[in-house]
């Protein structure tokens, strides 16, 4: 438990250091008048047209969805892989053959998902 408390301290520490640096920058930093040209978003010398929060390609969402699937898959595989030696030595209630077949089925479903996405052209970046 104490390990997790230390980790949470580190969580705040990273944020604290960044916040302290930002405040230092705000206090020490050189100041100039906030003119319109200075505050304008950078765009290679041109005047910015419209808002920057434009519509963007749906492809980014599709990659995010695929990422979710595979990341969760990896999380599901962690307990199995961490005990792989034990399972293969037969030290667990499930016999090793059953585990191997389960794993093959699990991976096959995922790989077929990847193959489907590939076939559908989701993985093609335009």
């Amino acid at each position: 438990m104490s390990e997790y408390i230390i980790l949470s301290i580190f969580l705040f520490l990273g944020a604290f250091i960044a916040a302290a640096a930002t405040v230092t920058g705000l206090l020490l930093g050189y100041r100039t008048k906030n003119t319109k040209n200075k505050m304008a978003p950078y765009e290679c010398g041109m005047e910015t047209i419209g808002n920057a929060r434009i519509q963007f390609k749906v492809g980014y969402y599709l990659f995010a969805l695929l990422f979710l699937v595979f990341d969760i898959e990896a999380l599901f595989l962690f307990p199995v892989m961490a005990n792989f030696k034990e399972i293969m030595a037969g030290n667990t209630p499930l016999p090793p053959q059953v585990v191997v077949i389960d794993l093959v089925i699990f991976m096959a479903i995922l790989v077929s998902g990847l193959a489907y996405a590939w076939k559908k052209g989701i993985l093609k970046w335009e």
Partner: protein
């Protein structure tokens, strides 16, 4: 129950003296819990100081190193004026950075603009706390070390997306989206390689993984499984390079195309925080590579008792840092010698090559474990 997570002479000294000093406190405060809380706080403080020193201290060194490596690859000298061979150059840069004006562009989401560097800096700090530096020297020895690293890595993406979106700049938004897409894509192969490591070592705790590589050089995971271990190491190298958004995979901040990626609009210290996070991530990723493949804090023993005895006299921290700096040097050489791929090539490489290869590698590793290991 208090379990000391870091043991060193100073910590032992304080742990011994805090209960004695607390005898002078008022009676109602003299409880066992108070002592343990005090000891815990002091222990935590020591951990924090140590990790901060390693993290923040290594950033200037790495920036100097990067400049020198880059310069010598390109047949230049690099920084030479300030101090001996330009050693004081990065310190001067830090001071310059502190006195730069901090402001957000018009139309920016101010809160999100300033919160983004905070979130980006959290991830490498947590990972640094999980790395075992020596047999007893680890800040937080948790069982879920590897899944924690994957989770925290995913957290850093949020900061980048937030920074790009809040800047009200089209380059920033595009850069952030590309960075996000790239980082989450390569996160998968990153996780898969770590799965391979977990399978060989039989534990998700980083300490156990480092301990499992005790022995000679041939017990390191890069050599333990013939060929497969080396392939896994190369794949880890590629995916962690992409994960850190470093060249040659720095599509998102390609200066020639997108001016600077998600931090185009940042200046002064918030920009420095993105930079710092990048370099701490370089240290932690190298430390992870060293721990998972290069034997962690173990000396490179070769099986000859006389030589091994001498090698083992060197503390583990020194070996770990030697390995970390070797890995950092590799990352830098790759950065300055390889050309940058296009964004579609990058995504194709991950989804159509790296991921299938990873799955095959995992299967091959499982077969090796069943029949040989």
């Amino acid at each position: 129950m208090f379990v000391p997570s870091i043991t060193h002479p100073v910590g032992d000294f304080i742990r011994e003296w805090v209960p004695k000093l607390s005898a002078y406190l008022p009676e109602q405060l003299q409880s066992q819990t108070l002592d343990s809380i005090a000891a815990f706080l002091i222990n935590a403080l020591l951990c924090i100081i140590a990790v901060c020193a390693v993290n923040i201290g290594s950033a200037p060194i790495l920036i100097y190193m990067e400049r020198k490596v880059c310069a010598h690859v390109q047949c230049r000298l690099g920084p030479m004026r300030l101090g001996w061979h330009g050693t004081l150059q990065t310190i001067a840069d830090v001071i310059k950075m502190l006195f730069k004006e901090v402001y957000s562009p018009s139309g920016a989401d101010k809160l999100m603009f300033y919160v983004a560097p905070l979130i980006v800096l959290i991830a490498p700090f947590i990972i640094a706390a999980l790395i075992p530096f020596d047999h007893n020297l680890i800040v937080a020895d948790i069982d879920m070390g590897i899944p924690m690293i994957i989770a925290v890595n995913g957290f850093g993406v949020l900061g980048i997306l937030l920074g790009g979106w809040s800047s009200n700049n089209k380059y920033s938004l595009l850069g952030a989206l590309r960075s996000g897409a790239q980082m989450i894509s390569y996160e998968i192969s990153f996780a898969m390689i770590l799965l391979f490591v977990v399978m060989i070592s039989g534990s998700t705790s980083l300490m156990d993984i480092a301990q499992a590589q005790d022995g000679t050089v041939l017990d390191w995971f890069i050599f333990k499984i013939p060929v497969l271990g080396f392939i896994a190491f190369i794949l880890f190298f590629i995916s962690s390079t992409a994960e850190m958004n470093r060249a040659p995979f720095d599509i998102a901040e390609a200066e020639q195309e997108l001016t600077g990626g998600y931090h185009t609009e940042y200046n002064g210290t918030p920009f420095a925080m993105f930079y710092l996070a990048e370099y701490i991530a370089l240290v932690t990723n190298s430390a992870l590579a060293a721990t998972c493949f290069l034997g962690g804090f173990h000396a490179p023993c070769i099986g000859v008792a006389a030589i091994d005895g001498v090698l083992q006299m060197v503390p583990g921290v020194v070996w770990l840092f030697a390995k970390i700096y070797f890995m950092i040097w590799c990352y830098m050489m790759v950065r300055w010698t390889f050309v940058r791929p296009r964004v579609d090539q990058l995504m194709d490489f991950e989804w159509k090559f790296l991921l299938p290869v990873n799955l095959v590698l995992l299967a091959a590793g499982a077969v090796w474990m069943i029949f040989v290991g």
